[in-house]
């Protein structure tokens, strides 16, 4: 019998620890499929963040490191510089990357480190129980913005892809969503491109995934997709911001 679908080699057989309806698993699978397709697994390594995806070091089946909160781009810098023959990525959530790790992401991008950063933006801290993130939408209620995020008091959501796009060094910056099968297919194309450039040592590549958090948002998984489409995409428009490869 012909096998038409199977777990990518780059994913371990461990069961994910994510909530029902969470899209981390989809993002993991996309990344793993692309690593397999590009035949990068033997030289691939990644850095897991602090947050819901803290166990990513177990889920990807090659050498992995776990980093302190927000420090994944610095850890990845050390790894890539120590073993330049390897391909390095980080996998980070919005609290990790856009709050406590703001300095590390900006400076890794600005140095044009030859790494790929996968940024999962679901506008909330999932792991710690649904607190406000730097990407939480204005008016959005979380466990630490119980009256809704007051943008005049605590600031507006940080648009990381746009912010990194002000720097000269990054090679590839794209924002995609995981909100429908068609969008997931597009997300895979961006993931593949970023990792292809990584393989070719082109420079710093960045993919932001607009994701959901049904548990943290208190919205059921299917409605979460519609909610994100309606509320997140106007603030975080999907699209390619930078592709130096296409310009060549």
């Amino acid at each position: 019998m012909e096998k038409i679908a199977q777990r990518p080699q780059s994913l371990s057989s461990l069961q994910f620890t994510y909530c029902p309806g969470c899209v981390h698993g989809v993002a993991h699978r996309l990344i793993a499929e692309c690593i397999d397709e590009l035949e990068l697994r033997n030289s691939m390594t990644g850095v897991a963040p602090v947050g819901c995806s803290v166990f990513a070091y177990k889920f990807f089946d090659f050498d992995m490191a776990q980093a302190a909160h927000g420090r994944a781009p610095a850890v990845a810098t050390g790894m890539k510089r120590a073993r330049p023959e390897m391909n390095v990525f980080t996998y980070q959530g919005d609290g990790d990357l856009a709050a406590i790790g703001t300095a590390e992401i900006i400076h890794a991008a600005n140095r044009g480190e030859h790494i790929t950063v996968f940024f999962i933006n679901n506008a909330i801290y999932g792991m710690t129980g649904g607190q406000m993130a730097p990407t939480t939408l204005p008016g959005m209620k979380t466990s630490t913005s119980p009256y809704g995020r007051d943008a005049d008091d605590i600031g507006h959501p940080i648009k990381v892809a746009e912010m990194l796009n002000t720097l000269d060094a990054p090679y590839f910056i794209e924002r995609v969503s995981l909100l429908s099968p068609a969008e997931i297919n597009k997300a895979k194309k961006a993931t593949l491109k970023a990792l292809q450039y990584n393989k070719e040592e082109r420079g710093f590549t960045f993919v932001e995934f607009i994701a959901t958090c049904p548990t943290g948002w208190g919205i059921d998984p299917v409605k979460s997709l519609a909610w994100a489409k309606e509320n997140m995409l106007p603030v975080f428009p999907i699209g390619n911001f930078r592709d130096k490869g296409a310009a060549q």
Binding site: V75, G78, A103
Partner: protein, 360 residues
């Protein structure tokens, strides 16, 4: 060993680290350790090494974590306020059992303090500093030569135990120039061996066979039973380090000592000058200089207190931090007296001499 050259401590330790096989260095400028950063920025590009002036000491320490995760010899350095920022990375390295070397050129504190020599980071270096149950091996040089020698020693110890090692120097040792002799550079063969020595656990390409290995560099164990086992294993390692790696210098220690002094680093060499004068006058005073301040030579100090010792005097450039360890070693047998200078002020041999005279 090559010819003697006159060098600042900051530059000597950098050169010695390179000769010991360090090809990765990440740091952030802070006085009084800037010559170390600048030396690395000049040398690393010439030898195909990595020098990154990081965005912060926090980032630098985490770059070290990444490079050490790949099993390569990696160094960072800073001075007191910057070392506080590195403590996050140091705790993670201890937890994930990563070998790395950290140089602390101590200056006056707390807070921003000043930029003069001090020993106020003793507690931070030897009793924790970062969070959690861990120990860092801490070497305390007292000359530029020893500062340089400790670079290769620190890497060897770090690799042997998979643990961060700190060289606890100060602004005096870092800024003054002394003659220093270096060990030869590692050969290409030695460098290749160093790059592979940690292949059983570190992050590296799959070159061994068809099965991709899955090495995890990690300090997280969410199950308390598993974390308990991990920390107990660390504890066993620390016990082995205490047995194997405790180092000290005994200066004029003999059964007829009337006083034993204890001092480390820069303070110890000043105390030596004072002791020399007094012993020239017919006194019999000894000095124990801990070379490792963790693990600490408690037993050496206990044994040095002979029948005739009436006082143990401790000299430090702080309010009395190592003093607590000396008291533990002496265990009430004789009085333990303390003289310290703080805030970047350094005592002179005469001041030490005067202080000792009060007790003899």
């Amino acid at each position: 060993m090559g010819e003697k050259v006159l060098m600042k401590g900051n530059e000597a330790v950098a050169e010695a680290a390179i000769r010991a096989g360090c090809r990765l260095y990440f740091a952030y400028p802070i006085t009084p350790q800037n010559e170390l950063v600048e030396y690395m920025s000049r040398m690393m590009p010439k030898i195909k090494g990595t020098f990154i002036q990081a965005e912060s000491e926090v980032a630098a320490a985490n770059m070290v974590y990444g490079a050490a995760a790949c099993g390569k010899r990696v160094l960072t350095s800073s001075s007191s306020p910057g070392i506080s920022l590195k403590m996050e990375g140091i705790s993670y390295m201890a937890g994930a059992q990563l070998p790395a070397v950290i140089v602390n050129v101590q200056r006056g504190g707390p807070g921003l303090g000043d930029i003069q020599p001090a020993q106020g980071d003793y507690f931070q270096a030897t009793k924790g500093g970062g969070h959690g149950d861990y120990q860092m091996i801490v070497l305390a040089p007292s000359s530029v030569q020893e500062f340089a020698d400790m670079a290769s020693e620190a890497f060897d110890i770090a690799d042997k135990y998979r643990n961060p090692v700190m060289i606890l120097a100060d602004g005096m040792l870092a800024q003054m120039m002394e003659p220093v002799q270096f060990k030869p550079y590692k050969t290409d063969e030695e460098m290749e061996a160093l790059g592979k020595q940690h292949f059983s656990w570190c992050i590296h390409q799959n070159v061994d066979g068809p099965e991709r290995h899955h090495h995890e560099i990690n300090s997280l164990e969410i199950d308390p039973k598993v974390l308990e086992k991990h920390v107990l294993k660390l504890g066993e390692k620390y016990d082995a380090i205490k047995i194997n790696e405790t180092r000290h210098e005994a200066y004029n220690i003999n059964p007829d000592n009337e006083m034993v002094c204890v001092a480390f680093g820069t303070a110890a060499r000043i105390v030596k000058s004072a002791i020399d004068v007094l012993n020239g006058e017919g006194r019999n005073i000894g000095l124990i200089r801990p070379i490792t301040v963790w693990p600490y030579p408690y037993e050496v100090i206990a044994k040095a207190i002979g029948e005739k010792v009436k006082n143990v005097n401790v000299f430090e450039l702080n309010l009395g931090q190592m003093l607590e360890d000396v008291k533990l070693a002496v265990c009430g047998k004789v009085p333990v007296n303390f003289m310290g200078k703080v805030g970047g002020v350094v005592f002179t041999p005469d001041e030490v001499l005067e202080d000792i005279r009060k007790y003899i």
